[in-house]
């Protein structure tokens, strides 16, 4: 009897604590409020309570218990979306390393995938971002400080990248971060090293066979449910199980495709199997607007615009005119999609400097996109494509309190993100350089305090390494030239593709990470390199929007 009373009491205490943590109420007054769903309020108030938007309007009196911010000179936007990232994903395994084959480097860091699937690693649609998502909001600091509150996250390896999740960039547990899971199945037209499919030819036939298998799987399940007698029981295959919801249109399928022909191939496959497709990347999507519109396919448009980043070697031919044209045309894509009536939202496309996100959205405006449409592409249009528009994407009563507060115009040159609310939780920014004492010093720029304190426990990686990058079918050799100063790593990477400087280089206890830009096939590819050191050997993976590639190297004496 007693137990009956104690249990509800415990529960009540638990929920009281959580209530008190999030019941904090904020009011931003005298601010310009870009609601996106309705007219912009030039001078208004937004009230946030308990993680939701309690009210918004021009003549609102802030509630008595609310912490009030004078928003004079500030603009409040719905929290911005980055519609394709790998945020919070554990180190991505190379597609090839999963299951079979793979070089020593790949095997060293890819756990054997355990799945009741009959398909090879890289062809496992059941893998889900939330199973890999690291908990904790600190990891999202840079993105949040840049004004992002909601992202789509998914791994980038394999042909099937797996099922993505829509997450808010706050919360200390995975379950509190998740807004929607799964959002979509993601596909890259890539290959699997050392096994089928090892070419683009095989990629398409493998995808086609799996979709056919899933169709049959569904039929067999129906037959078996109707009458199992005299029938072999269908296998419990998780890969096919996942694809059934793709085939039935319950789960969208996102194809990573930039070139016109890649987009057409994705659209052809979507048409063949009547899939609910989304194009991610979409550099040349302006050439295919007619089909995108007819098939009602939205675009998660990358703001990582191609630009020339490296000087060509002396012997090189002049760049092809197609490459020159591509760089000139890409900033016009958003305006052309808008004009054609193709739905689109912006994504960072692997940009390493998030400020370029807004700068390039601004370039889209210079090239004919309306400002409203540009803001919509990072807020409500994104929410609509992700299917969360009833909860996010605009400043409306009852929606989730994701807000980005900006001094200046987010698409203009002079701007500072001053406050970010995620699920009603306030993240205040240090306004630089006007208020050096304000904020809590977590601007996420330059060297972090963590790196400085970790000096004593870090690895030694300085020197020149001869490196082999295991691009399937055509291994690429090159040199990593590392200069280490404490926890800071600088230097260059040099391959046949040219020489690129190391950016954001850090040395940790186990190894190193850095990013860089590589000129390849006419576009600029942002890569993130993570590696470990063991004696005079280094190994790790290079992550790019095209997938993860293992590398290994030896220090030159």
């Amino acid at each position: 009897m007693k137990i009956r009373f104690i249990l509800p009491a415990l529960l009540a205490v638990g929920s009281l604590f959580s209530l008190s943590a999030s019941a904090q109420s904020y009011s931003i007054t005298n601010a310009r409020i870009v609601t996106v769903s309705g007219a912009t309020i030039e001078n208004g108030t937004v009230v946030v309570r308990d993680g939701l938007i309690e009210s918004v309007g021009a003549n609102l009196k802030p509630p008595a218990d609310a912490q009030v911010f004078n928003g004079s000179g500030l603009t409040v936007y719905p929290g911005f979306f980055d519609t394709l990232t790998s945020l919070g994903m554990q180190a991505q395994a190379a597609a090839t390393g999963r299951g079979q084959g793979g070089g020593p480097a790949a095997q060293a860091q890819t756990p054997q995938n355990v799945s009741n699937s009959n398909y090879a690693g890289g062809l496992r649609p059941e893998e889900s971002a939330i199973d890999e998502l690291k908990a904790g909001e600190a990891q999202f600091e840079t993105n949040r400080n840049a004004g992002f509150t909601t992202v789509v996250t998914v791994g980038r390896s394999g042909i099937f990248n797996g099922q993505s999740a829509v997450i808010n960039l706050a919360g200390d547990s995975v379950s509190s971060m998740v807004v929607k899971t799964p959002f979509a199945e993601h596909v890259s037209f890539t290959t699997i090293r050392g096994t089928y499919p090892s070419s683009l030819l095989g990629t398409f036939s493998a995808l086609r066979q799996m979709l056919l298998d899933a169709q049959r799987h569904q039929e067999l399940q129906k037959l078996y449910a109707a009458n199992p007698v005299g029938m072999k029981r269908p296998e419990d295959d998780k890969s096919l199980e996942t694809l059934i919801s793709v085939l039935n249109g319950q789960m969208p399928i996102v194809f990573n495709a930039n070139r016109e022909i890649e987009i057409i191939r994705a659209l052809d496959l979507a048409k063949e199997f009547n899939l609910k497709a989304i194009i991610a990347g979409g550099q040349e999507s302006w050439k295919v607007t007619e089909r995108l519109k007819t098939q009602k396919v939205p675009v998660l448009l990358s703001l990582n615009f191609p630009k020339r980043t490296a000087a060509a070697s002396a012997e090189a031919d002049p760049e092809s005119i197609d490459v020159l044209r591509l760089r000139a045309e890409t900033p016009k894509t958003a305006a052309k999609l808008a004009q054609a009536g193709v739905k689109f939202a912006f994504q960072s496309g692997g940009l390493t400097t998030l400020n370029d996100f807004y700068a390039n959205a601004g370039k889209s405006v210079e090239n004919g996109l309306s400002k409203d449409a540009a803001v919509r592409a990072m807020t409500l249009s994104a929410a609509e494509i992700l299917g969360v528009e009833n909860r996010l994407g605009s400043i409306e009563k009852g929606k989730i309190a994701n807000l980005t507060v900006v001094r200046g115009d987010i698409l203009g040159k002079d701007k500072t993100v001053t406050h970010v609310f995620v699920d009603g939780k306030l993240f205040e920014q240090k306004e630089k350089p006007a208020t050096p004492a304000g904020g809590r010093g977590a601007a996420g720029r330059g060297t972090t305090p963590d790196a400085a304190t970790a000096v004593s426990a870090i690895a030694a990686v300085g020197g020149n390494y001869s490196v082999t990058i295991d691009i399937p079918g055509q291994p690429l050799s090159g040199t990593f030239a590392f200069t280490q100063q404490g926890a800071i790593l600088s230097g260059t990477i040099q391959t046949q593709l040219g020489t690129s400087p190391i950016k954001d280089g850090k040395v940790t206890a186990e190894g190193f990470t850095f990013s860089s830009s590589v000129e390849f096939g006419g576009s600029t590819i942002e890569i993130i390199v993570k590696g470990t050191v063991s004696g005079n050997q280094i190994s790790g993976t290079i992550d790019s929007p095209q997938g993860a590639i293992p590398f290994s190297g030896t220090k030159n004496p």
Partner: protein
């Protein structure tokens, strides 16, 4: 004078509307080629003859033909007209050629990886090629499915696919498939087969599996089984071969292997449509002819690898004398541009008559690919896939001036020459953009002198009336 007429027309096109849309209209309307020497590839040579094209088809061949006022007229005086060249073995416009992970990759189809922006398409058009058989590579005993395309450069990819062309598939014998097995890529397990006998076994095994697969469907359709068999994309094309619905194009060099393959086909009751390369086919010409199998060979490529040592330049002539349908293919983006000269070589080696040599790059490959009702010769009722040459196409001084597909011009030398100035201007403007400047340099890279640029200068001289 004639050149000036063409150029003048071309200038008009560019000045009024964009060139391509004018040409696109031509397809709906009329095209008249006047007073040309026509090498028909079916009925000999016609002197001083006109060709009238309506709605993309050849509707009249004769003298003093009349066209409506808005027809596009080409003066063919002193020029030669041939059917568009058909390249029976090409890998142009493919973003992937070989799926090497398996010895049997019949589930793959080059249709999935066509790239309509490949500049080699345009270069092939400039050499008079209008149609090509795009094949999977030769890494596997049974490779992928082919696609026959017309080189409609600038059009959407689906318009390239030749309507009604029977489906085909690539097979491969000899050094290539066994070498892939013996030299695995890093991370790949060695692949069976690594010998020629293994290659034959792989093919036989695949057809035994295909026969069983077909049986499982037959049983299901006859209601002998309750559950529908799994659709198997690897075996489906092989069943189509067994049913005579899919053409086999079999890469091979040595005659013993090709003969072995013919025997396997006999065993399973299907026909090998073409032997590709077939450098030793002259040794088994009667055996090939008896089965109605065709051969697609090189004109004079030999001894470039061990299995090519027994090749002779008389191969095509001997096959032809034995009644085998012979075509000359390129297997190369580069050689594709001058298949006319490869055909000319066949006249030199073995005395094949002129029209028979021309057929080897036109009507014969059309028959091999099952598209000879639509293309391959200059005949009334066929699609107007035509080339206008400055001289006899078997002369080294000849070059295509106009290449058209279904009456629509896809290559016009006069327009090409003029476009170069426009493109140079566009390039100059593009190179000034920030996105195209190398970082830190403040300017684009200085142009590197190359042979290509020197050639452009020669072309400019040509436009200005110089002789080359």
């Amino acid at each position: 004078m004639k050149k000036i007429t063409t150029l003048f027309l071309t200038i008009l096109f560019i000045a009024t509307v964009s060139g391509s849309s004018v040409y696109a209209q031509a397809q709906k309307n009329e095209v008249l080629i006047r007073n040309a020497t026509i090498l028909t590839a079916s009925r000999g040579t016609l002197q001083n003859t006109d060709i009238l094209i309506q709605n993309g088809k050849i509707t009249k061949i004769g003298t003093n033909l009349k066209a409506s006022a808005n027809a596009i007229v080409f003066d063919g005086t002193g020029k030669f007209v041939t059917p568009g060249i058909i390249d029976a073995h090409s890998h142009t416009m493919l973003d992937a050629i070989n799926e090497i992970s398996s010895s049997v990759t019949s589930m793959t189809n080059v249709r999935d990886v066509l790239n309509p922006t490949d500049i080699s398409i345009y270069r092939a058009l400039a050499g008079g090629v209008t149609t090509a058989n795009l094949l999977h590579g030769s890494a596997n005993p049974i490779g992928g499915q082919n696609t026959v395309v017309r080189y409609k450069f600038g059009r959407p990819v689906e318009e390239f696919v030749f309507p009604g062309a029977p489906p085909g598939i690539k097979f491969a014998l000899g050094e290539n498939p066994k070498r892939i097995g013996s030299n695995p890529q890093p991370g790949q397990t060695p692949r069976y087969p690594i010998t020629r006998m293994g290659t034959m076994e792989v093919i036989r095994d695949a057809f035994i599996r295909a026969r069983d697969y077909k049986q499982s469907w037959d049983d299901f359709r006859a209601k002998k089984t309750r559950v529908q068999p799994r659709r198997n994309l690897e075996l489906e094309p092989l069943v189509e071969i067994l049913e005579g619905k899919r053409l086999v194009h079999a890469h091979g060099y040595r005659s013993d292997e090709h003969l072995n393959l013919l025997l396997i086909a006999d065993e399973f009751g299907f026909k090998i449509q073409t032997l590709q390369h077939a450098l030793e086919a002259y040794k088994i010409a009667p055996e090939i002819a008896k089965r109605g199998t065709a051969a697609s060979v090189f004109a004079d490529s030999w001894s470039y690898k061990l299995e090519a040592y027994d090749s002779i330049p008389y191969n095509a002539a001997i096959l032809w004398k034995n009644g085998v349908n012979v075509s000359i293919n390129s297997d190369s983006d580069e050689r594709a541009r001058r298949l006319n000269l490869d055909a000319a070589k066949i006249m030199k080696y073995g005395g094949v008559p002129e029209e028979e040599a021309l057929k080897m790059i036109t009507l014969n490959p059309a028959k091999q690919l099952g598209i000879d009702k639509q293309t391959g010769s200059v005949d009334i009722g066929k699609d107007a896939d035509l080339v206008i040459w400055t001289a006899h196409p078997f002369s080294v001084y000849s070059r295509p001036e106009i290449t058209m597909i279904e009456g629509t011009v896809y290559f016009d030398r006069g327009r090409d020459v003029l476009q170069r100035a426009e493109i140079a201007k566009e390039r100059e403007a593009l190179e000034k953009l920030d996105v195209n400047k190398a970082p830190g340099s403040g300017a684009t890279q200085p142009r590197v002198p190359s042979e290509r640029r020197i050639e452009e200068r020669d072309e400019a001289d040509l436009v200005n009336g110089g002789n080359h």
